[in-house]
């Protein structure tokens, strides 16, 4: 076993060696511009891009012509939200989203609000779910887009996308989903799930960084988008710019592997996640799982270790790469807005750790992580005045804290 251990696979994933092998020729020998129509270099590149497009489409049950290549999911989210809002401005000016979305969605929506659009930010319940009745009630005749992510990047909670898609379709509203964390990890089919637009990212599925895609439905309904990036009219005019051929080839290979291995891989992620969870719960008291445990990405575990501040825990397990919802670990000095939206108190948000188990993690690593976390939490609880007070039976909520 090699240290440090990487268990932060929601942030990014390593490139699968099979993906890298597929990419390499396209940096040197086959370096052509896929838009060059009059020589072999261009044809070769274009052919490789189209093959990749097929594999990306196939992963989500789409037609290759419905895949628009982008620089990553942030761009895909921007294109989906702004592209629909601008294109359908005559029809309406209202967008519905949810408070636990990725910042690429939330900030795109806020940008549109400044331009005069109206946005409804739906709340979530304490498990992380959007209420479908809330959604139905929020739709007006001016609503042009509903955008709700499939699986959350922090707590891994999977929304009822099929029902949300059905509601959108019944009301004639376009439905976009940020499927970045879901695609390749759980079954995701745009037709079965009534999805019109979907954001994907290569580097979350063992492909390279800097490449993503936007699925844009071609029929029933046909979705039109106003481009965010103008230029040479690449990607059927929806996203100009010379294609990142090696990146796209890598994305295609990553999508193909993800599709072929999805069933066995997700079962293995789930088994390791449960091994980690049950070991921790057996050895430590006062653990709280953030978000629903059932409808959750198989590799995700987001847990609060009460009375142990997240950053100090990370410091104690410094040979393990995971994330914390603690304010101290983020640039904003605010604890996670996602946990806050779930109603997790700031005290517990500060103690949260996100484990993201991925393809290359082993059972040995899971056991090592569990043991390191257990010993560090015990040590820090011995150091924690809050744990001491809680053990003395003091209700921490009733204490008048000097800093408040």
């Amino acid at each position: 076993m090699k240290l440090p251990i990487y268990m932060d696979n929601h942030a990014t994933t390593p490139v699968d060696p099979r993906v890298l092998d597929a990419m390499l020729p396209y940096f040197t020998d086959r370096f052509g511009n896929a838009a060059s129509r009059n020589h072999k270099f261009g044809w070769e590149a274009e052919e490789a891009v189209e093959e990749a497009r097929k594999n990306i489409a196939s992963l989500i049950g789409a037609d290759p012509r419905e895949i628009v290549i982008t620089s990553g999911a942030t761009e895909s989210d921007n294109l989906a939200v702004k592209g629909v809002a601008w294109m359908y401005r005559e029809k309406g000016d209202h967008i519905i989203t949810c408070v636990t979305e990725h910042k690429a969605i939330l900030d795109s929506c806020k940008h549109l609000e400044k331009d005069g659009y109206r946005v409804t930010f739906l709340p979530v319940d304490n498990k992380g779910f959007v209420d479908l009745d809330d959604l139905r009630k929020a739709i007006t005749d001016k609503t042009v887009l509903i955008t709700i992510m499939t699986a959350n990047n922090e707590v891994g909670v999977i929304q009822d996308i099929k029902q949300i898609g059905r509601i959108a379709r019944e009301r004639g509203v376009l439905f976009h989903t940020d499927a970045v964390q879901a695609a390749g990890k759980i079954p995701f089919n745009v037709n079965e799930m009534n999805v019109d637009i979907a954001s994907l990212s290569a580097h979350k599925m063992y492909g390279p960084k800097g490449v993503g895609a936007l699925y844009v439905r071609r029929r029933n309904p046909r979705v039109l988008l106003t481009p965010v990036i103008d230029g040479g009219g690449h990607e059927r005019g929806m996203r100009s710019g010379t294609l990142n051929v090696p990146g796209i080839v890598g994305f295609g290979k990553a999508a193909q592997i993800a599709r072929d291995e999805l069933a066995s891989e997700s079962a293995e992620m789930f088994r390791m996640r449960e091994r980690l969870r049950t070991t921790l719960e057996r050895e430590l008291d006062e653990l709280y799982i953030n978000g629903d445990l059932e409808k959750r990405l198989p590799g995700n575990l987001n847990m609060s270790f009460a009375y142990v501040e997240g950053e100090s825990l990370l410091m104690g397990i410094n040979d393990i790469a995971v994330s914390s919802g603690s304010a101290c670990t983020s640039a904003s000095l605010e604890p996670s807005y996602v946990l806050k939206a779930l109603g997790v108190g700031e005290d517990l948000a500060h103690t949260s750790i996100r484990f993201g188990i991925g393809r290359f993690n082993t059972e040995e690593e899971v056991d090592y992580v569990a043991n390191r976390v257990i010993e560090t939490v015990r040590r820090l609880r011995d150091l924690s005045p809050l744990y001491e007070m809680a053990k003395e039976g003091i209700d921490l909520k009733s204490v008048h804290w000097a800093a408040e």
Partner: protein, 127 residues
């Protein structure tokens, strides 16, 4: 974020961890911060009433590595000092000793507050 060697040392080998009896008249207890803010420090001192010398100090801290290090260092520094000397410890001294970055200055402020709160508590018992 990279921690200074001194912060790491205090985090790995915190000095004077523990608790003194709160009710003991020779003990002053300071509890500062709030769980919602991500930092709570409890600093306790045992004071000789005759000499006003701090003979022992203990702490427990919920917080980041810098908060743990700041309070650990604070207990080290107050031990053997008179109350007047301990009151003169400034948060900037802690920042300097631990090379705390700007975002962690609040940890040193909290440690200074904890010293003052413990002294205030002890003085209350002796007024």
């Amino acid at each position: 974020m990279a921690y200074s060697d001194k912060v790491i040392d205090h985090y790995n080998n915190p000095r004077n961890v523990g608790a003194l009896a709160k009710e003991d008249p020779t003990v002053g207890t300071g509890l500062v911060g709030a769980p919602e803010c991500g930092d709570v420090m409890k600093l306790q001192i045992k004071v000789n009433a005759e000499t006003e010398v701090i003979e022992d100090a203990k702490f427990k801290t919920f917080g980041c590595g810098s908060a743990i290090a700041s309070s650990s260092l604070a207990t080290e520094w107050v031990k053997g000092k008179t109350l007047a000397e301990a009151l003169a410890i400034k948060n900037t001294d802690i920042v300097k000793e631990l090379s705390l970055p700007p975002v962690k200055i609040h940890c040193s402020v909290l440690a200074e507050d904890a010293i003052k709160a413990a002294i205030t508590d002890w003085k209350k018992k002796h007024s």
